[in-house]
């Protein structure tokens, strides 16, 4: 047997930097060759020196295995043999003890307080377990050892080791390592039991976690400090414990605090480990409740983690090489976990909150009970909490609020990123943050901190407004507190004072930053106002009030527009970004808060002119020109809003007015660069000053713009000519409109309505002779001719009337005087044009030819006004001669039957008071006479006359008796004399219902229209009587007013909707309408109040035969011609629409009819729902009286089978009527901004309306 080789003390403690007073004796050891030898070495010995010798020898074996050296396999065999031989026998009822000798030695050492052995046992066991956990075959044996360690006796030994004095690292660290091995063995099989025994196993853990490396230099990763070992134990537990145990572990406050305390002083590899476990085992553990996570991720911890921002960036990887392969820096790792923790409401600690609504308030509480809802009528101030949150805002994420307060977002981009991410996830924190951050002042100072502040504010203002202001799924009943919304748009540090100072600051950067912030704030305000509009149900709602208050309060917080303008004026030409931003800001003032902007009375023209000149003259880089152009566009848009802008005035230093200069700039220089803004502004101005006639789909200025673009560069003389014409035209647009009318007088009046002309062209032709008389060079004339030719052609393509253009072209040729040049201007002929022209003009020509054809056909079948009168005029009732005296000589029968009574009654409407009085006396006398007579109906006639006189008594003193009463009396007489007449009962009921007739009501109308006929089958007879009665009652403007007031037209217009109503009755309705047109103001009333135009258009389309169709068309013309207000007061566009409707000829036999050919109904639909009709329908749809027209629209668009039952009543039910009106209005709203295809929406509306009837 070879001599045992002794090792001299290359022990584990050599080179340890730990400064302790403990004196180490170097352990001895020997080489081990067999398992048997090892077992012998480890046999329990009273002599602890020997025991230590054995343990040290074992350690050498284990080290060799762990280090994988050349003897590794031999040593492994030794260990296996040893383990095999020392395995305890399984004895019933006895807990097996593994490695009993070592445990005995440990116990003995503990009793003797021999720390060297206590340490050595822990070291050896830790190494052994480490090896075992790497070897699947040994795991079960390892578990046995671990269970032995968890036995009471061993637990106490462990506890004693752990609670060794602070300096005894060599005892504590191996024990911690041992425990970590126990916990980790077999995937944490024993983690829970270890944790259950925490009173021993985790003994002094918090203290141990505080035992940092205190030597010089850095902690050596190979010799981890007690803190590192203790922390790793904790981390392993966190990683391997199941949720319930983990929850309990996290509730150990001292451990959590110890983990996080002075995190910043830990070595990078430990920090990575901590952050990694926090992320994977705490934050991302979905089973772990939020309130448990908060135990470890509390404000204190978050602040500690945030303290890692700015952690020294020296790479940890150099020293510990392979141990950490982290891609991220410590800072990034901390940032990542903070982001996950603070912004993710599903896994992190961030809680769902209610955005701009402070915690604890419920804006929908006002909805629930009607009592508080009605109390909303008192406005915003009636909401108790509305003004409460100016200085303090309660939040749900208190923890986060506290945490973000500790960040320094202005000095570190990562921290700023984190803060913004938190704000975005929990918008409730924004206002609260700034309210608490009192030290945060935005007073201008050119320093890094101020720049940081500005950057933060920029990002905060840029944050989106949460959907529905943060309220769950829809807008709440009540808006969020104004102060909170405002603080989100203009954070509190952006005070008026600070902003004004910034603008006035001599540093350009400071004012630039302030301007940018204001731009963002105004844009955000615009969005907030938009959201308020979306949320409000009516113009007077509480949301609208909040919006107004928001604007008011906002205006108090931002500088006056004047300050911005002053700042803008000081900018140099080269300050492109600043100029662009300032002009953008000015424009936003006009767009978002016009009331504030207009107060500044800013005259934009000088600045605009200067900018135009600058852009014209600029020859810098492309980017710079584009930027200047943007500035120019902003200014142009401002000019559009400012009322004082003089578009056509020539400044002294400019050759042309701003309008023409812009036009030139747009067509010559910057076409490629400009967006639509410039052309939009130009078109807007041209329309506004009536230089051109535009339609919603098409700008009247386009032909000129295209012509100028196609003409290439043109001479300045021509530009001044254009400028001069534009200026003249803008000044006296009426003059040129009249000139157009004069020129067009010869053209058939029918086409005039739909004709498109161009005042500017008219003006050019008028001015052309003057230009030519100045005898400019031939080249210029040639250019001019070319331009005019192009302009005329483009106009033709754009749909300007051909006849008009021809006459313009002729005038131009005459003015130029040169035949050769003149020929250039001539418009291409319809047939003989060049092929190129032919294609170019194709559409225009086709349109032109079509329209002439239509006109001819139309006129041939049109009713003349005389014919119309013959058909529809009804003579006005007049009294016979000598009515006052004649009656007295007649017998009672004759009085009634021959009409003497009626004639006398009519005198009550005489314009002479004396006649009226005389007539009244006679009526009373007549009544008396009839009553006393033997005339069969004497009682009723007497009653009628007496009620009439009673009603008239007071009225005739002030003026003629209203026609309605007179005519009713006359008509009722006719009924009373014939008891078999279907209305006999109704009239009698009416007479007995009261002694006096009300002058502001229409007798019998309601009973006839709504109650149905007294006798079956007499519905239409009754209607016919009513229509006759109504037409006679219409004599004066007062009568029209009464009809208006009682909504007679509305009911009349709905009558023909009934498909069973005969043509005669329909004509009777038209007669009433015709009579209305003969009375002053009548046409205006029915057009503007009752949608008569559109009703007629609708009727025309569904009319049964050509005659009726023509009648309707003629009636349309009649209405138009007799309307005064509509013609004179409507705007150009409306007028044009009207004219088109009026001038549209009837379609003759080609017209498809719904009744005859149901399959063509779709065509009718399409034809009927044309742009102009919709327009009319909708502009007239201001009142509910439009209902009938709207519903007839719906009905005619619908292919419905005729109803199976006869309609006795008005087929329109009130609810349906209102709904139809509502739809029509909605359709109008939807159509108004749509440039093309407006019919689509109305078609849909019509389809929907077809359900109304059911």
């Amino acid at each position: 047997m070879a001599k045992r080789k002794s090792y001299g003390g290359d022990g584990i403690h050599t080179g340890k930097k730990q400064k302790t007073n403990h004196v180490h004796e170097t352990p001895t050891s020997e080489e081990v060759y067999t398992g048997r030898q090892l077992r012998h070495l480890l046999t329990f010995e009273q002599d602890l020196h020997k025991a230590r010798h054995g343990l040290q020898s074992f350690k050498n074996v284990l080290d060799s295995i762990v280090n994988n050296d050349e003897k590794m396999s031999d040593h492994m065999q030794i260990v296996l043999d040893f383990l095999d031989s020392s395995k305890p026998r399984e004895v019933e009822d006895e807990v097996p003890v593994y490695l009993p000798d070592i445990m005995e030695t440990w116990s003995m050492a503990s009793q003797m307080n021999n720390e060297n052995v206590m340490s050595a046992v822990a070291v050896v066991l830790a190494l052994l377990l480490k090896i075992m956990s790497g070897n699947v075959d040994l795991v079960s044996h390892g578990l046995g050892i671990c269970r032995t360690l968890l036995q009471k006796r061993q637990q106490e030994l462990i506890a004693k080791n752990l609670s060794a004095d602070k300096g005894k690292d060599f005892v504590i660290s191996p024990t911690l390592r041992l425990l970590r091995e126990v916990i980790s063995l077999d995937g944490g099989a024993l983690a829970a039991p270890v944790f259950r025994a925490r009173s021993n196993t985790f003994k002094s853990l918090a203290r141990n976690m505080g035992l940092r490396y205190i030597g010089e230099g850095k902690e050596d990763p190979k010799r981890p400090s007690v803190r590192t070992n203790a922390t790793r134990l904790l981390l392993s537990s966190l990683k391997l414990l199941h949720t319930e145990a983990k929850r309990e572990l996290l509730l150990q406050k001292d451990l959590v605090a110890a983990l996080m305390r002075n995190l910043r002083d830990d070595p990078p590899y430990l920090i990575y480990e901590i952050l990694d476990i926090l992320k994977t085992s705490v934050v991302q553990d979905k089973k772990l409740a939020k309130d448990v996570k908060i135990k470890i991720l509390n404000t204190h911890s978050l602040t500690r983690i945030a303290s890692l921002y700015g952690y020294s960036k020296e790479p940890a990887n150099v020293e510990d090489g392979a141990e950490s392969n982290h891609q991220l820096s410590v800072e990034d790792a901390a940032h990542e976990i903070l982001l996950a923790t603070c912004t993710d409401s599903t896994v992190g600690i961030c809680r769902l909150e209610q955005g701009y609504y402070p915690e604890g308030i419920n804006p929908d509480a006002f909805m629930a009970d009607t009592e508080s809802a009605s109390y909303l009528d008192f406005g915003l101030d009636s909401i108790p909490w509305m003004n409460k949150f100016v200085n303090e805002i309660p939040v749900r994420n208190k923890l986060l609020a506290e945490f973000i307060d500790s960040l320094r977002p202005w000095s570190n981009t990562k921290q700023s990123e984190l803060l913004l991410a938190i704000f975005e996830a929990s918008p409730e924190l924004i206002a609260c943050y700034f309210i608490h951050k009192k030290s945060f002042t935005f007073e201008p100072k050119l320093s890094a901190t101020w720049i940081g502040y500005a950057a933060l504010l920029y990002s905060v203002v840029q944050l989106p407004i949460p959907r529905f202001f943060g309220w769950s799924n829809d807008y709440a009943a009540v808006p969020p507190p104004t102060s909170v919304v405002l603080d989100n748009i203009v954070p509190p540090p952006m005070t008026l004072k600070a902003l004004t100072k910034c603008l006035a600051n001599k540093s350009k950067l400071v004012s630039f930053y302030a301007i940018r912030l204001l731009v963002l704030a105004l844009e955000k305000l615009g969005r907030a106002l938009e959201m308020h509009r979306e949320a409000s149900s009516s113009p007077n709602s509480i949301w609208q009030e909040a919006a107004r208050r928001l604007v008011d309060d906002f205006s108090q917080r931002i500088p006056d527009l004047k300050d911005i303008i002053t700042c803008y004026r000081t900018l140099a030409d080269g300050d492109l970004l600043q100029r662009e931003a300032a002009s953008r800001l000015i424009l936003l003032y006009y767009e978002v808060i016009p009331q504030v902007a207009l107060r500044a009375k800013f005259d934009v023209s000088p600045i605009l002119l200067a900018t135009i000149q600058k852009v014209e003259a600029s020859d810098g880089e492309g980017e710079d020109i584009a930027l200047s152009l943007l500035e120019l566009e902003h200014l142009c848009a401002v000019a559009k809003y400012s009322p004082g802008m003089r578009w056509f005035a020539r400044a002294s230093d400019m050759p042309t007015s701003p309008f023409t200069t812009l036009l030139r700039l747009y067509t010559e220089k910057t076409t490629a660069l400009s967006g639509d803004t410039l052309s939009q502004v130009l078109s807007y101005v041209a329309d506004e000053f009536q230089l051109v006639e535009s339609s919603p789909e098409f700008s009247g200025l386009d032909p000129l713009i295209t012509a100028l673009k196609n003409s290439g560069k043109i001479d300045s003389i021509i530009w001044s000519f254009i400028d001069n014409c534009a200026e003249r035209c803008s000044r006296t647009a009426i003059k040129y409109l009249e000139m157009i009318e004069e020129h067009m007088a010869k053209v058939d009046a029918d086409t005039q309505g739909q004709m498109r002309a161009c005042p500017l062209l008219m003006c050019m032709v008028e001015q052309l002779p003057f230009l030519v008389s100045n005898s400019p060079e031939k080249g210029i004339l040639k250019q001019l001719a070319g331009f005019l030719r192009e302009y005329l052609r483009q106009s033709l393509v754009a749909g300007v009337d051909r006849t008009f253009l021809n006459s313009i072209s002729n005038l131009s040729i005459a003015a130029i005087g040169d035949k050769k040049l003149g020929a250039k201007i001539t418009l291409p002929k319809v047939s003989g044009a060049l092929s190129q022209d032919a294609t170019m003009l194709d559409d225009g020509l086709e349109a032109a030819t079509l329209s002439t054809k239509e006109t001819k056909e139309g006129s041939s079948i049109r009713l003349s006004p005389q014919e119309l009168e013959d058909k529809l005029a009804v003579p006005i009732l007049t009294s016979k001669e000598n009515s006052l005296l004649k009656w007295s000589s007649k017998p009672p029968e004759e009085l009634v039957e021959e009409g003497h009574a009626a004639s006398l009654i009519l005198l009550l409407s005489s314009e002479h008071a004396s006649i009226r009085k005389e007539a009244l006396t006679n009526v009373i006398k007549m009544a008396a006479k009839i009553k006393e007579s033997t005339y069969e109906e004497n009682e009723q006639i007497w009653l009628l006359l007496m009620e009439l006189s009673e009603s008239a008594k007071d009225l005739i003193t002030s003026g003629p008796l209203p026609s309605i009463l007179i005519v009713f009396a006359c008509r009722a007489l006719d009924i009373l004399k014939n008891p078999l007449y279907c209305l006999y009962e109704k009239v009698n009921l009416f007479l007995t219902s009261g002694p006096v007739w009300q002058a502001d009501k229409i007798p019998l109308m309601k009973t006839i229209l709504q109650d149905g006929p007294t006798m079956d089958g007499h519905y239409y007879t009754e209607i016919s009587w009513l229509l006759g009665f109504l037409v006679d009652s219409l004599r004066t403007p007062q009568d029209v007013a009464l009809f208006h007031q009682r909504k007679v037209y509305e009911q009349l217009f709905s009558l023909p909707v009934n498909p069973y109503m005969g043509p005669n009755l329909r004509i009777q309705v038209l007669r009433i309408l015709y009579r209305t047109t003969t009375i002053e103001g009548g046409s205006d009333t029915v057009i503007t109040r009752f949608g008569a135009m559109s009703w007629l258009v609708a009727q025309k389309t569904v009319s049964a035969d050509d005659m009726e169709e023509r009648l309707y068309q003629a009636m349309i013309r009649r209405l138009w011609e007799t309307s005064f207000k509509v013609k004179t007061q409507s705007h150009g566009e409306e007028q044009q629409e009207m004219r088109q409707v009026v001038a549209r000829p009837t379609q003759g036999n080609n017209s498809p009819r719904l009744q005859d050919e149901p399959d063509k109904a779709l065509n009718i639909k399409k034809k009927f729902i044309s742009r102009d009709q919709i327009y009319l329908l909708s502009i007239l749809a201001r009142t509910q009286t439009f209902a009938s027209a709207a519903l007839s629209t719906a009905l005619c668009a619908q292919q419905r089978p005729p109803p199976t039952t006869t309609h006795h009543h008005d087929p329109l039910r009130p609810a349906a009527v209102f709904l139809a009106v509502d739809r029509a209005c909605v359709a109008y709203e939807a159509l108004a901004p749509a440039p093309v295809g407006p019919g689509q929406t109305l078609l849909k509306f019509c389809d929907d309306s077809s359900h109304l009837e059911r």
């Binding site: 700015g310 202005w410 000095s411 570190n412 981009t413 700023s416 050119l446 320093s447 890094a448 901190t449 720049i451 940081g452 500005a454 950057a455 920029y458 990002s459 840029q462 540093s507 350009k508 950067l509 400071v510 630039f512 930053y513 940018r516 731009v519 963002l520 080269g574 300050d575 492109l576 970004l577 600043q578 931003a581 953008r584 880089e621 492309g622 980017e623 020109i625 584009a626 930027l627 943007l630 490629a672 660069l673 967006g675």
Partner: protein, 86 residues
């Protein structure tokens, strides 16, 4: 004129914006760099703050400024040089 990747356009615009702002604010930027509180982390913050302004420009405007305008000026230049050569 389009057809360029929006990301490239945005990057081009940002670089133009930064270039232009350093031109316009050269003096102020120097002052900030010499301020007491200008430390290591301040430079990225300064650049970030300048760069923020690009968000005021819509994608279409960015495209106009850096793509269309460049092409337009290149076209004029080449037209000019052709003239010179002929």
């Amino acid at each position: 004129m389009a057809g360029k990747d929006p990301k490239t356009t945005a990057a081009d615009f940002t670089s133009y914006y930064l270039q232009q702002s350093t031109k316009e604010f050269a003096e102020d930027l120097d002052k900030i760099r010499s301020a007491d509180d200008f430390k290591a982390d301040a430079l990225p913050m300064l650049i970030k703050s300048l760069q923020q302004g690009t968000s005021m420009f819509s994608a279409a405007d960015q495209q106009r400024i850096v793509v269309d305008a460049r092409q337009a000026s290149a076209a004029t230049k080449s037209a000019g040089s052709e003239k010179e050569s002929t």
